[in-house]
Symmetry: C2
Subunit: 304 residues, 2 copies
């Protein structure tokens, strides 16, 4: 190499001339772009905000820039975004992908891909395992005397939804409870609100919602119909992203989206540095947070 002082001299000269290496030219030459892409189904869903933030922070610390894609809950749009972004990035993070397993597996460029909340064998993925806590929620409701409950589902292509749905159904069967399924067209406040009448008409005494947003919409819908929470119906959310900010405070399943984002980025950085891997599933725990929207079931004379 050169002597230390020469290096310093050069650096000084470079700085005084305002020289900056051209990232684009470098990328063309080396194939390494210094960028990564993060794709989510809906930026406005509060679950993704902390996740995005965590990914951004970790990427920035590693000197990488991030492209953000919003698929708008649509697999075709997601596919298109990937196509447009992957040639300009070194790696991809797909959060709650709405694509099919086959579409996800399809090779794209040659950069590593990390999945969040999507369980595709052979790929790197971080999974927020809400099943145990969802089962705990069912038992919690059973202990409060509820025997007929509703699961207000999310998108069918959502792994989280399948995971929670299965756990609720199984736990319900084990506790000899009746579990009714009602879909929320979209995992949003509006979706939850729209589902409220259908939920009410089942005469169930409790509802477990796909996520906090749906739960919050459900609460608003119930309030509109004059149905008291938790007096007339108990409600459980999922994600704990706005639970302390509802009134009454929402009983929910905490799922730490920031941790999921950070971990995904960590794995991606590792793949970027150490090369490909056989594809590992990283599990993240959840916890049932019992707050104020769950209470003893109303007695039978109040029902249908």
């Amino acid at each position: 190499m050169l002597s230390a002082k020469t290096v310093a001299l050069i650096k000084d000269a470079a700085a005084s001339l305002g020289y900056t290496p051209n990232q684009v030219a470098r990328a063309l030459s080396t194939g390494r772009h210094g960028n990564i892409a993060l794709i989510v189904p809906d930026v406005t869903n509060p679950f993704f905000a902390p996740l995005i933030r965590a990914v951004e922070a970790r990427a920035d610390a590693a000197g990488l820039c991030i492209f953000l894609g919003d698929s708008d809950e649509d697999s075709a749009r997601e596919e298109r975004l990937i196509g447009k972004l992957s040639p300009q990035v070194d790696g991809l993070i797909l959060a709650s992908s709405r694509m099919s397993d086959e579409e996800i597996r399809m090779p794209r460029g040659r950069g590593p891909i990390v999945l969040i909340n999507r369980d595709v064998e052979g790929m790197d993925r971080v999974l927020v395992d809400s099943a145990p806590a969802a089962a705990a929620a069912v038992r919690h409701l059973h202990a409060l005397g509820h025997r007929r409950i509703v699961y207000v589902g999310g998108p069918t292509s959502s792994w989280s939804n399948q995971c929670r749905r299965a756990a609720v159904l199984l736990a319900g069967r084990e506790m000899a409870m009746e579990v009714i399924e009602i879909p929320a067209r979209r995992p949003s406040y509006e979706g939850g609100m729209a589902a409220a009448p259908a939920v009410r008409s089942t005469h169930a005494t409790a509802a477990i919602a796909f996520d906090d947003l749906v739960a919050q919409g459900l609460m608003a819908g119930m309030a509109e119909m004059g149905v008291g929470v938790p007096g007339d119906i108990s409600i459980v959310g999922c994600d704990d992203v706005l639970a302390t900010r509802t009134y009454p405070q929402l009983t929910t399943i905490a799922s730490r989206p920031d941790a999921a984002g950070r971990m995904a980025m960590e794995i991606l950085l590792d793949r970027l540095a150490a090369g490909p891997s056989p594809g590992v599933a990283h599990m993240l725990d959840t916890e049932l947070m019992i707050r104020a929207t769950t209470a003893a079931a109303p007695n039978d004379k109040g029902r249908g």
Copy 2:
């Protein structure tokens, strides 16, 4: 040119060979990257989510990809992000920049820049003018009998904060009301919650918060102290991003972040196509949404 059939033949061949023009090589050659960057102070602030979504949607429709930067409310970090991103993009959108006017004016690359909620003469900018609605909020409180109110401020480097603060102060003076200022360290739920005791100790009968997040934190803080809203104290928020989701529903100033994002992107696309401009300010209206957190001032014997 060539005959139509030849063109079709070529396209077929290209498609069957799986050919895609290399965006990076093109960028190196032409200097046009097909990317734009959006920088916000905090992705998790619900004001920015619809804004980001709108920018993303419009950019995507125009065939552009977007880089997202989170400055974490820090001007130095913002500066760094701009430095890293601007060489790879055709244009920049700076939302609620925390940098000084001089820093913002400093030339960066040669792409157009559009500011959101930052009033720098000679630059393109879209401004959500909350001043009239803030004044209306003060008059609304006056009509309800409030004579001593608090303004819970946001970041000092925020143009929106300066705008709202000035409007509240002026309107207060005009109505012969006492206006006390209390800062929220950060425009967040936590910041609002932390400010609650200080607000309470002023014995003011109403508070206008910098934004909905601060207002929500304030409501939670009041609840914790056993202070009723709006019974003991009235609260007004700003932005209308979660107003219908608080309990009681928040009286607030609606500021349409999605419209701001869409308009900023529209202006940027125009500059990209039509070249530089002298720098125009585009104003966006706001509206006072009167909901349930404002009520008549408690009578005097309750104070002091």
